[in-house]
């Protein structure tokens, strides 16, 4: 799983690299546009274009029938039944491309969250590092330490939450150098990427997870923790990022959805795709 995440991550990184120095909207617009093109391509290749064209025509025809014969209740009902039936066919035609698209989209969204979901904390700001342990570890008795990367200080003693098998620390940013954060428990050392950046668009991995596949899919920023460790995950609670537009603060997912839909519908004629 890590290799897949790494490969997709590399592609996204290459795509977004030219946009790291400018407003995040640049990268967002570009990647939304590319996604739209990619999805149109997949849709065209995996869907029954003729079938879609046919059912769309049928839908138009039955809509006309319903409108024309709205005073003839029998014909109206029959038209409605046929309309529902072709709608089901239409949905059926969309199922296959949807299933094909869902995999790359899911991988892409998880990667985009690393770029657009969080912002690098500024000097003077604090953030939490939360370490979740396996049930076998007695957190109350645990002697764990955090080694912060350059430009970051450990600003509090640990707060060990026994009920949740968790230990948290507060980190303070001195400068945005960043590096590797290390959790030490006895002789074991667990590293966590703590990239910090002055750039407006930067990749930030909030969570390093264990070998659980689903968690790896959702948190693809780092190589998973080795198996059989006492730690389940290490999380840095970065501040959430928002895209600013006319005084509004927009979640990146909303912006991405809207932009890719707009781009998709704008380009479907150009790529001769029947949606």
């Amino acid at each position: 799983m890590w290799w897949l995440n790494k490969a997709v991550g590399l592609v996204v990184k290459v795509l977004l690299l030219p946009f790291t120095g400018i407003n995040p909207w640049g990268g967002m617009i570009f990647i939304s546009f590319l996604t739209a093109v990619l999805m149109l391509f997949i849709y065209k290749k995996t869907s029954n274009q003729n079938g879609i064209k046919e059912v769309k025509n049928l839908i138009k025809g039955y809509l006309l029938e319903i409108r024309l014969f709205q005073n003839d209740f029998g014909t109206f009902l029959a038209g409605l039944k046929k309309l529902l039936s072709v709608n089901v066919r239409y949905l059926g035609y969309n199922l296959k491309p949807l299933l094909v698209m869902i995999v790359p989209i899911f991988l892409l969204l998880a990667q985009m969250n690393l770029w657009f979901g969080y912002r690098s904390p500024q000097p003077g700001e604090t953030l939490l590092v939360k370490v979740k342990f396996n049930q076998t570890v007695e957190v109350g008795q645990l002697h764990a330490e955090v080694e912060a990367p350059e430009g970051v200080t450990v600003d509090s003693p640990p707060v060990r939450i026994i009920d949740e098998n968790e230990a948290d620390w507060r980190l303070r940013i001195i400068d945005q150098t960043g590096g590797q954060l290390v959790i030490r428990t006895g002789s074991e050392r667990y590293a966590k990427d703590m990239s910090l950046s002055r750039r407006q668009l930067a990749k930030l991995s909030a969570i390093r997870v264990n070998q659980n596949v689903w968690k790896q899919l959702l948190n693809p920023g780092e190589k998973p923790l080795p198996g059989e460790t006492e730690i389940k995950q290490i999380e840095l609670v970065y501040p959430e990022a928002r895209l600013k537009f006319l005084g509004l603060k927009i979640h990146w997912l909303v912006a991405y959805f809207l932009l890719s839909v707009i781009a998709g519908f704008s380009l479907k004629g150009l790529f001769k795709v029947e949606i």
Binding site: T126, L128, G140, P157, V159, I161, I162, D163, D168, V237
Partner: protein, 666 residues
Amino acid sequence: MAKEKEDNSLSRRRFLELMLATSAGLAFFPQGASLTTRGGRDTARKVLVLGFDGLDPVLTSDLMKANRLPSFRKLASSGSFLPLGSSIPPQSPVAWANFITGTDPGGHAIFDFVHRDPKAYMPVFSASESLPGKHDICLGNLILPLSGGKINNLRRGRAFWQILEDNDIPATVFKIPSNYPPVESKQKTFSGMGTPDIKGYYGLFNFYTNEYKTITEEYGGGGRVHDVYVIGHRVESRIPGPNNPFKKGNPETYVDFKVFIDPVYPAAKIAYQDQEFILKEKEWSGWKKIKFDFIPGQRVSGLCLFYLKEARPKFKLYVSPINIDPAAPAMPLSTPDNYSKELARKFGPFFTKGLPADTAALENEVLDENEFLAQDELVYKESVAILEDELKNFRSGLLFYYFSNTDQRQHMFYRFLDKNHPAYDEKLAAEFAPVIPRTYEEMDKVLQMCLEKVDRQTAIIVMSDHGFNPFRWGFNLNTWLLQTGYHYLLPGSRPEEVTLFQRTDWSRTKAYGVGLNALYLNLKGRESQGIVAPSEREALTRRLANQLEQLIDPKTGEKIILKAYIGRDVYHGPYVDLAPDIILGFNRNYRISWNSPLGSFPRELIEDNRQKWSGDHMSSPTVIPGSLISSLPVKLSDPTLQDVTAGLLSLFGIKIPPEVTGRPIF
């Protein structure tokens, strides 16, 4: 889960609820239309006014002589330094209203912190009133308002920045007291003293502890103790928010929170909504947002500070009064509306509550002196940061900027300057006696920054609304009225147990005291159960004033009341009829007691004030004038607050309107 302590004084709680609960409910009702422009004329002269609340001229002079206020000295040497005549009475809302309108209380209708409703004989806040919407629909437990509620500023008269606006002269007025909600204007204004917290109180903190503790819920503020249990190193409780106007009975809203305490280290994690943060013992959190939900889609946002006083052996967590969030104000804070949002964007969260430092928490020993000062230092730093920015953008017209630190710290730390104060503590004085002089030095640094940043065309005026004096003894006005036969209680009453005149026999009572300096006659035709005929009014008022001025404290041999002012004699303007009949001008060291202003009758006529609130300014204005330091020479030898207003207008070449009674100081 926390179990909240019940307040025994139900009548007082009920009274507070009745008066204040509606305020927060106005949160979502649409307010007046936003105004986004202001006077735009470029003026040859600019005027910067720094309002240091309670800056005492005697102390200022002493510190200037000791060369501890070099910027004050520099300013005074180029212009003037004079005592500034304060209002009758010299309470901040009254005094600042004098300055705002250039008139005395007869022209602006603010006579005291507290007025009274002559129908119910109940105290009411003088500065603003909250009116709920007139029409709503009830759907089961749900109330859907059809019209918006309203918050009214009860100050009358035109503000000087409105007069400037009439003449197209731009002004920015930051946190001037007696301007909540801010009066309609195209100028940039931000409300100050009088601005409530999100619950509609003047500041209600919350204190979570597993130690037995009682605190006083004061008039319009104070705090609440929440008994909590530490179970498995975890504490769970809730933070109370505004009352919910969308539900029947307006129940209080709340936000649940959890505290996880480390088993060994003195630190804890606090988690609520989307917030989680670690606090070490004796550490402040910085501003945290908190949102209170009413119904889906309707919520209000507030700001609070957390302070982990102790993690163990006893758990003690302080949560500050919840300030209105300037980024999403639930109640009007500024003109234009977006000024508060603009400041929030630039500076992040900041104090919006009128009197920001939590004096009630210090009074109740929830915060100690150092903790209180740490909080007030945050107020100071925020104020300086915003002022610095305003100075950068100050290109024309007038900038007024207010600092509360001088007032708040003198109220709480005067006991360390006064060895004869009943609350003087030699050990603590060794540490805290320098606080007040140091505060003056901080104000000097503010002035220094201003002197460095303004150009030569800028006139600078430093002013205060009043001075300060020790509050050693409290006078129980209503007890005196009872003893002298001007006030009667119903048979069988125990005077010391009465609050809010609940046992008063109005059919025999001729006078009563409400507020901090005010005495009212029970006048026929004005009070609902009045018995004093209008024909008797004059003679009775003068007799009472005379008797009050003769009162001697047997302990000290000093007069308690230096001057009993008769309202109709000292006030001028259209609102004189609303004035108290007599305004008590206390002698130095004296003030109204803690309980008398709310219709109580304590046993002693004169009480020692052993509270931390130890400095005050309810004396005769002749005892505690304010300060006036100006870069321009002042031509009057006895300037008053109203004269400064007239002076400001004259500096811009504006003809003084007839309602401004002050004489121009320049």
